[in-house]
Point group: C2
């Protein structure tokens, strides 16, 4: 007997991967420019020019024995110090280098954090819609993932649902704002209310509940009126899981960090747990070259205005065609209501118009589909007639306006 759970995980392709493979086949058949593939969250905007320049400079000037050598397990001290200082500058925190643990990207940040916190039988809460791998990560760590449905139509936190889900077994709550798959951002009032509720529940029941903020999309907030608050300023038992995958368009290089709030009394134990979990999972250190890169470009981002223009154009068009769209304030995803009860049937029909979009079922919400608009502006423009025809096939009222 192999480990059947992992064998099954390896065999079951996710819905998203299936669609991606279909897209590859279809592109070969009718030409890539005629398939509108909105299935994956792979940034289309290149890394900013500073990345290339910094990589060239590091490779040209740093002694290879140092550059490619081990760093300490938690990451190079100067890299961690640079990141802590930058977080302090932006969010008025008082972190130091030893609050930061460098990781191989957001997924590693989450698995390491969960393995630091969780004992068998614990519960981890998240809000639907949610990134499906949360279930895989939580279950591997020995926890049960408890899903709290978001507010219908807005996908903000439904606090009544949350109140019902909290239990003395709740070890952690994962939030993901800006959200994959909905693009929804939690404002300050929402975060305040969430933190107050966790604080009060913890006190009343004598339990410590950790708030994990999964933030690969932090820099992708498009309007000045919208702010994604920094949870460390609202809640002591908080841990930020960050990744440079989307902000710097480096998803394949696997570089990010865990920031442990030093305002909680058991901070040193939590940080030790992170170091220990990293060891147990086989993470020796995050890639050294990319650690050095981050120390030089920590405050840069890719040109995210491209995503904003995509969002504006696509949202306006979809609404005009009669689709119901959840307003996405960030990330590069958009949640559209299915015009028929089964989102999978809707996505199947979309395929006939060469539109590849993902049913929301996998994200824990029925009746919606995810559109990843981190594509080229040309593709957005070219895809609009297909979306219009899709709307018309459902006789959506906006379709004829």
């Amino acid at each position: 007997m192999l480990n059947e759970k992992n064998v099954q995980l390896g065999k079951v392709r996710s819905e998203i991967r299936e669609l991606f493979e279909y897209g590859k086949k279809r592109k070969a058949e009718i030409g890539a420019e005629n398939v509108f593939d909105f299935s994956l969250g792979n940034p289309s905007v290149p890394a900013p020019p500073e990345v290339k320049k910094a990589l060239e400079d590091i490779i040209a000037t740093v002694d290879p024995v140092v550059l490619h050598g081990y760093t300490s397990a938690q990451g190079d001290f100067n890299v961690r110090k640079t990141i802590a200082d930058y977080i302090n500058l932006r969010f008025k925190t008082q972190l130091d280098a030893d609050c930061i643990y460098m990781t191989c990207g957001a997924a590693a940040s989450l698995t390491i954090t969960l393995n630091a916190l969780v004992n068998a039988g614990d519960e981890v809460i998240t809000f639907a819609p949610f990134f499906p791998e949360y279930r895989v990560f939580a279950e591997h760590a020995g926890a049960k993932l408890v899903i709290v449905q978001g507010e219908e139509g807005t996908f903000q936190i439904d606090f009544d649902n949350l109140a019902r889900a909290l239990s003395p077994k709740t070890k952690a709550v994962i939030i993901n704002s800006p959200n994959n798959p909905s693009g929804v951002v939690y404002g300050e009032k929402t975060v305040e209310k969430l933190c107050r509720m966790l604080e009060e529940y913890g006190k009343a029941h004598g339990v410590k509940i950790y708030l994990i903020s999964d933030e690969p999309y932090r820099e992708l907030v498009f309007d000045d009126s919208v702010k994604a608050p920094y949870i460390m300023n609202f809640y002591g038992r908080s841990i930020v899981c960050y990744s440079y995958s989307k902000s710097l368009s480096l998803p394949g290089e696997r570089i990010g960090y865990i920031a442990v709030n030093n305002k909680m009394e058991e901070y040193a134990d939590v940080y030790a747990g992170v170091c220990g979990a990293g060891r147990a999972l086989g993470y020796v250190c995050a890639p050294n070259l990319f650690q050095q890169l981050i120390a030089r470009v920590y405050d840069k981002t890719s040109d995210i205005s491209v995503y904003k223009r995509n969002r504006d154009e696509l949202c306006a068009a979809l609404k005009e065609y009669g689709f119901k769209v959840v307003k996405p304030d960030g990330a590069f995803y958009l949640f559209v209501a299915s015009p028929e009860p089964e989102a999978k049937a809707f996505c199947e029909r979309a395929k006939k118009f060469e539109l590849l979009i993902v049913a929301g079922d996998d994200f824990g919400v029925k009746g919606y589909a995810r559109i990843s608009y981190c594509v080229s502006p040309q593709m957005i423009k070219k895809s609009l007639p297909a979306f219009k025809a899709l709307a018309q096939s459902y006789k959506l009222c906006g379709g004829e306006k």
Copy 2:
């Protein structure tokens, strides 16, 4: 309650790390050139020039969206194909790209493999002396690590000890040849006998035993007369965990692979288990830039002749001074018998001569110390009088010859 096991793992510094920290302090006190730090396995030989050239070329020429984008979870197809072809060429196997799974280095190769194979309560056998993280990795996967003492004095496999350790719960056996910490290499006869024994035990008891070969030191075999056989040619249920950390002097960049033997009937399930375990542990893909690098320098190595000269010089001198040394055929470690019963006391005394060496206790063997000779040839030369004085302090007979 946090996950206490991981909190403790994070708090307990390994003996090696302790010594490394002591070394840093001591170097600040008396000058780095006066401390002979043989504690760490950090290559002193730089990556071969082809690495720098290839990195420069990749960064200059590959579209950054492709270069830094996600690869498939198991790794880029062409990279995997290149590696499979190269293994086939060297070892007369018939692997294809889908036997290879790219990883973030040897530790990740091991944790992923163990999580693919192991169910709670299974046993994993390894041979002492062994790399201490094996215990951490096996236990995280839910297994018990069973230690089989090697043959006294040679640290080859003691087959009587192995016969006693095998049980119907044995799921896997880990070998590490060339070995950390002893430098010992298993020859063809040893490997043949091991495989026959596992085969026969498996048949007799109706169990499937997997042989995991942890091979970060494969390319570090110094004499033409010594060969490290390729286990896939001897045993169907075999998995090779490889890393480029030492062969290309890239330990901080975390790049390696798992190769699953396609000669076993359940090959597809084992490979799926590897893919699933990688997902569950949070490994999305191995760093893309370093995958591309490997596709260009897969057949290169650092200048390992430096390590060979270090070994020859140090071994000869230690023997001359009267130390008992286990002949190291590979890797860049050397196991020396402690002249007093407690190896830790021996290592403490060595410190007085500014020699930093690690007691073998952590590696599962009493009465020995590990010397990591992946240091500069200058340091070897400069350290010899200190080793001589250490021998004389024990009045070793060779010391006066």
